[in-house]
């Protein structure tokens, strides 16, 4: 069962990922990425991890990608994008590098010869992971909360627009006065 689903899902993920990086419209990229996320959740299911699959859908497909779509729709990105950088040498070497990265992964993967057993039960359930976080991983867990807090503070500082409040006030004034007149 697992093995039957795994290979089609893998193929789907690869195709969707390629679509993400090749689509000219960022909206398409984002939507294809959502599909890839969902497919990856399917791979997790094949690997007996229902809880992580659920997290994958909730956090990635649900939260992060929605964030992306918000931004994509907020800003106007519909313009012709050239895929060629002006740093051509760097771009070429980067493409070569990602190719060599693939080969390195290939050789790494070849070194593992085991097959994953079909345990017939779900692995990595919420109870077990929770215990793990509160016992052996308690310090990294706290650190991650701090990372999130810092990121939040940073985002607030960066996206703070001092003009925004005045603009919105003027806008609301206009609306209100217009409403009164009407």
């Amino acid at each position: 069962m697992n093995i039957l689903l795994f290979y089609p899902l893998s193929a789907l993920i690869i195709i969707l990922s390629l679509g993400v990086i090749l689509a000219t419209n960022p909206v398409h990229s984002a939507l294809l990425l959502v599909g890839a996320m969902v497919a990856i959740a399917g791979v997790f299911l094949c690997l007996n991890c229902e809880f992580l699959a659920m997290l994958q859908i909730f956090i990635y497909a649900g939260a992060i990608m929605v964030l992306f779509l918000f931004i994509v729709t907020t800003i106007d990105t519909r313009k012709d994008e050239k895929f060629v950088s002006s740093a051509k040498f760097s771009q070429a070497s980067g493409i070569l590098l990602s190719g060599s990265m693939f080969f390195l992964f290939f050789f790494l993967a070849l070194q593992f010869v085991q097959h994953l057993p079909d345990t017939g039960r779900w692995l990595g359930d919420a109870k077990g992971l929770g215990e793990l976080f509160l016992k052996s991983y308690s310090l990294p867990f706290e650190v991650v909360t701090l990372v999130l807090l810092t990121a939040m503070a940073g985002v607030i500082v960066m996206s703070h627009d001092p003009l925004y409040r005045r603009r919105s006030k003027e806008a609301s004034k206009q609306i209100l006065s217009g409403g009164n007149k009407a």
Partner: protein, 623 residues
């Protein structure tokens, strides 16, 4: 821990802190605060002195400072004995009087609290130097008094002469202090202790050559601090400081620290009384006494005369040390503290009255306008010249007889000649300042008698300058000898002076005074020294060209060496090396900056190239 002793130096410390940190809020009264505190300190010293008479005060440790070896810790330890108490009473007593004088003298000063803070802190350092139980502590406060001397000479730091005089004093003292440090290390090498009394107990184990070396190094420190040949030129320059400073530091107390230090370590010096070191000490002392007295003949600045006279008197004390007569040296130290403080303070009063005019050739006839001050100055000069029955007579006579009894006729003769000079320049100073015609271009109408707050200390000191000599009379068995003999063990003088020799010891001072009167009291306008002595007089006026000789022999070669170091070491080697590296870096940077094109893709490529390389390395190496 004896409270009287502790408060003797704790009170001035409090005074220094109060004036230093809070003084700016009671500027006008900072002198009163400092003087009152010095009075308390003087009272404590007297109490300690009499307590010690009743029952000896034991030495005590203030705190453990730092461990040096497994067996010895350098402590802040107070050594109380007859010698240190005598010195403490002198320092606080004279210090108190000079503080009182300074209240009047510094009353026009903008920031007197700084002055009184330094002055109080100097007294702390001096007292702790006197009370030091070990050589390290003594060295610390030896440097402490040097520092306060530097700060006080340069008190009027905006005057370039004052600033450079302070620097000169500091640097020349460093030369001597090198000797002190080396001597301390050398002693520690043999005894593994710094404690003066322990060293005194064990000192017989040392071979003669080592003792000679150590005593010579200690004497080098003395030549620095007590202004002996060849390091004395800083002391006349130090007269740039306020006059109370000259009186307290550069006449009465700090410059006598060298005499005190040798007396404190007398066990070391007593060991081989005929070794070369004693010859050196005696010769240096005699030469300094003579040379400084000769230079004093040619000076027109009233404070310079007194400064050279101080150097000369210190030479007398060092002569006494050279023949192993420490008590005589301390006796002269004490009487000298009284009459030289008196002279400096009177000179200060004159300078104050003359609105900071120090040139004696522009004074004259002041006796009519400030009679009390004139009387005090004359008393001081009589004591300095060794007029019979004044303080200076007894102590100088004691030293000269001791030198003769120890069979050093040449040093004795040099001392006699110096005494003649002393009488001469004292008379000259008195006459130029207080008698004859008024010679300044300004009208003398504004000159009045010294204010009372300054006059009281003068009168007390004048009484001391007249009477202090009786403490050491009769010679060899007087009160002071009996008192100090408990602490200072010195070989007894054998034999007696013949009447002729004794007369020869009194007469020089009188001859000098007579000569001075003969040359200066006759005419209305005083003859310049050059006219009296011919070309030699010019030498005296030019201070024997000592500053110029030092300039040529030491300062100029040092400057040339420094220039050479600058051009060869700094410019060529260090800068050359650094600049070549700079060129390498600049060249590399100009090439490397092309990598920073600012393209995101270029940055990413170089970053990920590193990642891939690392990954490849891990794969190849195995994990």
């Amino acid at each position: 821990m004896n409270l009287a002793v502790v408060f003797t130096f704790l009170l001035p410390l409090c005074g220094a802190l109060i004036n230093g940190f809070l003084g700016q809020w009671f500027r006008k009264d900072s002198g009163t605060v400092a003087g009152t505190i010095m009075f308390g300190s003087f009272m404590c010293a007297l109490i300690a002195f009499f307590q010690n008479q009743a029952s000896p005060i034991p030495s005590f440790t203030l705190w453990h400072w730092f461990p040096i070896s497994d067996t010895y810790t350098a402590d802040m330890r107070i050594l109380v004995d007859h010698l240190s108490l005598t010195m403490a009473v002198m320092v606080t007593g004279v210090g108190f009087l000079i503080h009182v004088f300074a209240v009047g003298y510094m009353d026009h000063e903008a920031a007197p609290e700084r002055f009184f803070c330094y002055l109080n802190f100097f007294v702390v350092n001096m007292l702790l130097l006197v009370f030091s139980d070990n050589l390290v502590m003594m060295f610390v406060f030896w440097e402490g008094v040097g520092l306060m001397s530097y700060l006080l000479i340069g008190f009027w730091y905006y005057k370039p002469e004052a600033a450079s005089a302070g620097k000169k004093a500091f640097v020349m003292n460093r030369v001597g202090d090198t000797g002190f440090v080396l001597a301390i290390f050398w002693l520690f090498y043999y005894f593994h202790t710094f404690n003066i009394l322990e060293i005194a107990g064990k000192v017989k184990e040392l071979p003669e050559s080592v003792v000679t070396g150590i005593t010579l190094l200690l004497f080098l420190a003395v030549t620095g601090k007590s202004a002996q040949l060849p390091l004395f030129t800083w002391l006349p320059d130090a007269m740039e400081g306020p006059t109370p400073v000259s009186a307290l530091i550069h006449a009465a107390t700090m410059v006598t620290a060298g005499i005190y230090m040798v007396t404190r370590n007398h066990a070391l010096f007593n060991l081989y009384p005929n070794d070369p070191a004693h010859m050196v000490i005696l010769t240096v002392g005699a030469l300094t006494a003579l040379v400084a007295a000769a230079i004093a003949l040619g000076q027109n600045d009233i404070k310079k005369v007194l400064a050279y006279s101080t150097v000369s008197q210190l030479g007398f004390m060092v002569m006494a040390l050279g023949v192993g007569c420490y008590i005589q040296a301390v006796f002269h130290l004490l009487t000298h503290a009284c009459f030289k403080a008196l002279l400096f303070l009177t000179a200060g009063a004159v300078i104050y009255g003359m609105h900071h005019e120090q040139d004696m050739t522009k004074m004259g006839g002041l006796a009519k306008r400030m009679p009390m001050t004139a009387a005090c100055f004359i008393i001081g000069c009589l004591a300095l010249a060794g007029f019979p029955l004044t303080a200076g007579y007894f102590s100088k006579d004691a030293i000269l007889s001791a030198v003769l009894l120890k069979d050093h006729p040449y040093a004795w003769a040099a001392g006699l000649l110096a005494a003649v000079f002393t009488g001469f320049y004292s008379t000259r100073a008195v006459w130029l300042t207080f008698f004859g015609e008024w010679r300044s271009s300004h009208a003398p109408d504004h000159i009045h008698e010294t204010p009372r707050v300054m006059l009281m200390p003068l009168m007390i000191l004048a009484v001391l300058a007249l009477g202090a000599g009786f403490a050491g009379w009769p010679e060899g068995s007087g009160m002071l000898y009996k008192y100090l003999e408990v602490t200072v063990k010195q070989p007894e003088l054998k034999g007696h002076l013949s009447m002729a020799n004794w007369l020869a010891t009194i007469l020089p001072g009188l001859i000098g005074i007579a000569l001075g009167l003969f040359f200066y009291a006759r005419g209305k306008s005083p003859a310049p020294v050059v006219a009296l002595f011919g070309p030699i007089g010019n030498w005296f006026v030019q201070k024997l060209y000592l500053d110029e000789i030092y300039e040529f022999l030491i300062v100029e070669p040092t400057k040339i060496f420094a220039q050479a170091c600058y051009y060869i070491g700094d410019k060529a080697m260090i800068d050359g090396f650094l600049h070549s590296w700079y060129n390498v870096c600049a060249f590399g940077g100009s090439r490397m900056r092309r990598l920073h094109s600012g393209h995101l893709h270029a940055t990413l490529a170089s970053f990920l190239a590193g990642v891939v390389a690392l990954f490849a390395y891990i794969l190849v190496r195995g994990y």
